[in-house]
Amino acid sequence: MRKIWEFTLNSNLIKLKNFFVVLLIILFSSFTLSFADDDVYLSLSANSANRSGIGLADFVPVNGTFEEMETSKDFRDVLENDLILSRHFNVATANTSYKFDMNSHFSYWAQKNVSVILTGTVSVIELTKVVVTVKMYDVDSKQLIWEKKYLNTTTNYRVIAHQISDEIVKRFTGEPGIASSKIAFSNNNTRYKEIYVIDYDGYNLRRITKDNGINILPKWVPNSSQIIYTTYLYHNPDLFLIDISKNKRKALSTIQGLNAPSSFSPDGKTMVATLSRGAYPNLYLLDANGVVLRRLTQGKYIDTSPSFSPSGKEITFISDRAGYPQVYIMDIDGVNLRRLTAKGACDTPAWSPRGDMIVFTMKADRNYDIFIYDLPRTKLLRLTEDQGNNESPTWSADGRFIAFSSTRSGKSEIYIMGVDGSGVRKLADIPGSSFTPSWSN
């Protein structure tokens, strides 16, 4: 009897064993399955560097004068820099020994793995005007893709290069480039705070206000050459608008108390501003001339730093209604309030031009750093870490870059990085400390 028992036991054990083996196999296979999926994901994100090749050939000086040769070279350098900064392209240039020859032209460039070639001419007229013709060829079919003539003053050859770069980006992606964009910021080099404007590539710095006072928080009006900012010119933080092309300014909102800018709606017709009116700073909807249309928030909270969504239907802003400053989203009619962040001290949210992300400053540990809230994925991504305080992020018009101020060098300066936090570059070496950049579109 006992023997039989043992036997059945043993056979059962064997069956058990088999069962375990099967279980193990199932488990193992399911693990490998899930890992396989992860692997796909990883390998996907690992191979993302895929840019178009552009061959930048010479821009031939038509008359061959000294000025033309200089301008041609300078112009080409600016264009090359623009194309590289766009991060759409791998730019190939010809060797110095290369001589233009129509027959070997295309095969020469095909060797460099480029899909199009840029070439053209530069001529200087009466020492003050420059004419640039640009031609873009398809290397494969050897056909002309695009051709255009640009005319400007010799001092503005950078403008032409920026325009050409933008056109090329458009001809590759269907979306406008940002090479003609500018960045406004405030700087304390004069011991006061004044508004400055600089090209996106760090050239062409201009001082906009000359009040010897406090002028802060510049913001571009969409699709215009106007900037709104807060000034203490009349001993109250008033909201002013300045047109940098006409060099004219006017007061927008001078209500007693804080008048802080604010965000224009994408159509430029309305804006949201923080007004205190002697009480708690709340959000108000203003028209483009500074007339209050309606009040958006109320209560004994501080609501600041509004930023419109690209649809113009929602705003994101900072409120301390939770007891400490957090990022909120609200419909433009003042309803549907939602809180995005859960911790830290947040500031200066900005809605991305594509609408899918909100970038903001948050003090999560010792320093202020730039974070992105990814709306469709409801995920928080950190862009900067352990490099001083990083604040006041602002989007490029194409939503691929973020400009911000950082104290990583010891003083506050403006930097630009990719939307994934990569490729950080200092905008320019500017004396004094620079704050609160705003990127034009």
Partner: protein
């Protein structure tokens, strides 16, 4: 027998073990399923999809590690012939049937490895045979994908224009890139294939879309169409292409 099993002193442990395993199993499946839902394209400043298709065979592009030093046996000779021959046929066919080849979208990871090796080989080849460079990068890319195709399976992927004279390969690439950026795929798809037809006007806007060949999976079709529509506007048509619009057949394929 069952009785003896139940009465065995190890039985509770057995039950516990089974439960534990089941729990792990279920949680693994559950997690896997959660993850699989529409793999998001990572945020990408390069404006390219994460899917590697060797579209632009730029040496600077593809981060080829030091490993390249490891010379592989030049099995390519055979491969190359394989790819060279079928190509012209395909092209002719394309012209006749109004359909074009392109790249396929997704590769399984194993295939990917193979593909990478292939790419390396191909590159080495390129170095050896500079004559090849006369063909455009796009053609190279096509060839390249062809290689991997033959290596993996004989699927073709494609963009095809209703105007056979449209030869601007940079433009083809820009379309593929842009759509791929908006193409979200789920690993729950099985073998599916859909062809979307759309028309691009001179400014690059989409003026007409149609599901030319349905995959049979409504969701797949919808996603394919969505990827196309999200990609509008495309780049403006080349100035030396004189038609009012360009019709494109775009194949979405999931292997």
């Amino acid at each position: 027998m069952m009785e003896s099993l139940v009465k065995h002193k190890l039985f509770p442990f057995f039950v516990f073990s089974v439960c534990l395993h089941l729990f792990v199993l279920i949680s693994v499946f559950y997690n896997a399923r959660e993850k699989d839902k529409f793999i998001q394209i990572p945020i990408d400043v390069n404006f390219v999809s994460p899917v590697q298709t060797n579209n632009n065979l730029n040496t600077d592009d593809i981060p080829v590690p030091e490993k390249q030093e490891i010379k592989r046996e030049p099995e390519p000779e055979v491969k190359q012939e394989i790819k060279e021959e079928p190509k012209p046929e395909v092209k002719e066919k394309a012209v006749e049937t109004d359909s074009i080849k392109i790249e396929d979208k997704e590769k399984k990871k194993k295939k990917k490895k193979k593909k990478k090796e292939k790419t390396k080989e191909h590159k080495e080849k390129q170095k050896k045979e500079p004559v090849k460079h006369e063909t455009s990068s796009a053609k190279q890319a096509e060839k390249n994908t062809d290689i991997s195709d033959t290596a993996v399976n004989s699927t073709s992927k494609g963009v095809m224009f209703d105007n056979a004279n449209f030869k601007f390969s940079y433009y083809t690439n820009s379309i593929v890139k842009k759509i791929r950026r908006n193409w979200r795929w789920s690993s729950s798809y099985t073998v599916l294939r859909a062809v979307i037809y759309f028309k691009i006007n001179r400014d690059g806007d989409i003026i007409y879309t149609k599901i030319k060949e349905s995959s049979g999976d409504e969701e797949f079709d919808k996603n394919a169409l969505r990827a196309v529509l999200l990609s509008s506007p495309f780049a403006p048509l080349p100035e030396t292409y004189y038609e009012e619009d360009l019709g494109v057949y775009f194949e979405f394929k999931f292997n």
